[in-house]
């Protein structure tokens, strides 16, 4: 007889597992707290809200963490637009008949894939920024992230386009559509639902990777956090809060991607 057919004893019920998990998490938090106390750490949670906003004379003044969050979201939004543009150009070059186009796309992809993002950021900031005469590190950072994520975006698009059966393209050409027409009316409508969920995942990556821009002078969330720690020495409180902020944003977005994926899967 298989074990799963027996009625489970009460201590194998799911809620017991959840309870155990919560106890474990609490124990972990307690150890972290004890560890911090062991090095004579002074907790100052009461000062944290002031990093978000302060009320002076009935007027709300936003704090550094909110500015940082704003910059992070700004980077992610513009980064996504540029990423999609770069990804589209690269995938067109990659799938084209043009030899130099294919070579250029391959060189770009291999370069991005085989060098660390930190080195790319450094090259953009220390080398390309002065050469191209970009005045604003923020835009250097956005451009660098877009070039980095563009490689992944182009691969996602390529996979989706290649997933459309060959017969579809041939049929479209047979009924007299031009190359562009075949792409626009037959290829794209079928490829788009395939590429949408992974492309949304790129937004999550943009938010995560924007933290690396704290290395150059971009005042996004991580930079603001580092500056605050430099001023107040409240490393634990600030990193916990900032970590929770990132976690909240990325998990919400990830949940959104999952929802989108399921909805598209149901429609097909």
């Amino acid at each position: 007889m298989r074990a799963s057919q027996k009625p489970l004893p009460w201590w194998r019920a799911p809620w017991v597992d959840v309870l155990q998990f919560l106890v474990l998490a609490a124990a972990l938090a307690w150890f972290a707290w004890r560890g911090a106390n062991a090095i004579d750490y002074r907790w100052q949670w009461s000062r944290v809200p002031a990093f978000f906003y302060r009320e002076i004379d009935g007027e709300i003044i936003w704090g550094p963490l909110i500015w940082g969050l704003q910059v992070t979201l700004y980077i992610a939004a513009w980064g996504l637009v540029l990423t999609l543009a770069i990804g589209l150009i690269v995938v067109i070059l990659r799938l084209s008949d043009s030899l130099s186009g294919r070579i250029l796309a391959r060189v770009y992809l291999e370069t991005i894939r085989n060098t660390p993002l930190l080195v790319q950021v450094s090259i953009f900031y220390f080398v390309l920024q002065p050469i191209l005469g970009i005045n604003n590190p923020l835009w250097t950072g956005i451009l660098c992230l877009a070039f980095f994520e563009g490689a992944f975006a182009s691969e996602i698009m390529r996979a989706a386009i290649n997933a459309v059966p060959r017969g579809q393209w041939e049929a479209a050409r047979t009924v007299g559509l031009s190359q562009i027409g075949a792409f626009r009316y037959v290829g794209l409508p079928q490829a788009l639902p395939l590429m949408l969920p992974p492309l949304t995942g790129i937004l999550v990556n943009l938010i995560k990777h924007s933290a690396i821009l704290s290395f150059i002078a971009v005042f996004e969330l991580t930079t603001e956090a580092r500056n605050l720690i430099g001023d107040t020495f409240m490393s634990f409180e600030i990193w916990f809060v900032v970590g929770a902020m990132y976690l909240a944003i990325t998990m919400t977005l990830s949940a959104g991607v999952g929802l989108l994926e399921r909805r598209i899967a149901r429609r097909r």
Binding site: D17, G35, L118, F183, G187, I212, W239, L247
Partner: protein
């Protein structure tokens, strides 16, 4: 635009691409030469790759090469550590019970949804202040005989930097473990259900099924993405430069500042990473192809 492996030929798109590339190159040269009036000086780089050792009368590796070796060392050991942790978590995530699944889920989601940089800062604080003094690595290594020390230096780097190296290694491995766990989970779940049922019907316990039937099959599918994870680790290890671990990127920052040669140093370091990662990618691809042929 139709995808497929049609033969490449020369047409109008080539003109656009070549014109764009040529325009970019000319613009860059114009800016560097006439606007920035920058004088390239690549002669500083070889001196940082190798130096002439007066004592032994031979060439010895200097900062950049040593940084690269540290990068490879840290990535290799992080991969080993992450594999051990990742297999445990990956198995936990496919468990029948809810508790191990919850723990595995919690770990993976926590790591994957916090950007690496804040995670490294927070974690480094804990590790360097709590765990590393507890281990007493440096004293242990310095108390060894010269032969053992030479072996350990070859494996982990010099004794005076061992604590620095270990904290970077542990932070990196903790992050990579989440990704390895997902690879392992995918590998385990790719083993068909019939295999479990067959194991069950001949009377094996769940541990036996896992050890004797599922894992041997899963390992075959896990090895290629794990090799890819090594390349990812080499790239991600550059992040530990931000917490002052003395690997390639960190040394590059220091050299670029002390020599005031940002262009040359960063381009060389980018090339060094590229050569290592691309060589690894080509080797792993070749090995995978050979293994695939063997399996078929």
């Amino acid at each position: 635009m139709t995808p497929g492996s049609r033969r490449a030929r020369f047409h109008w798109l080539d003109l656009v691409v070549l014109a764009a590339v040529a325009g970019f190159v000319v613009y860059v040269f114009y800016r560097v030469d006439s606007v920035l009036v920058y004088r390239w000086d690549w002669s500083v780089i070889p001196g940082y790759l190798f130096r002439w050792d007066e004592e032994t009368g031979t060439y010895a590796a200097n900062l950049l090469i040593r940084g690269l070796i540290t990068t490879i060392r840290i990535s290799f050991w992080a991969l080993i550590l992450a594999s051990i942790l990742g297999v445990l978590i990956g198995v936990a995530r496919t468990s029948n019970r809810l508790l191990p699944r919850l723990i595995g889920w919690g770990y993976v989601e926590f790591i994957r949804n916090i950007p690496p940089v804040p995670f490294l800062f927070l974690f480094y604080f804990f590790i360097s202040s709590q765990i590393i003094p507890l281990l007493g690595l440096r004293d242990a290594m310095e108390s060894l005989g010269p032969n053992e020390q030479a072996v350990l230096t070859f494996l982990f780097g010099p004794a005076n930097l061992i604590e620095n190296f270990a904290s970077g290694l542990i932070s990196l491995a903790m992050m990579a473990a989440a990704y390895v766990a997902e690879i392992v989970r995918a590998g385990i779940q790719s083993v068909p259900k019939g295999q479990y049922e067959a194991g069950h019907s001949i009377g094996l316990s769940r541990t036996q099924i896992l050890r004797q039937i599922v894992l041997p099959q899963a390992i075959q599918r896990v090895v290629p993405p794990l090799a890819g994870q090594f390349i990812t680790l080499i790239k991600d290890s550059s992040l530990v430069a931000l917490i002052s671990i003395q690997e390639l990127s960190f040394l590059a920052m220091e050299i670029a500042i002390s020599e005031q040669r940002f262009f040359e140093v960063w381009l060389s370091v980018g090339l060094m990473y590229f050569i290592v990662c691309y060589a690894c990618a080509l080797t792993f691809g070749w090995l995978e192809q050979r293994m695939g042929r063997h399996l078929r």
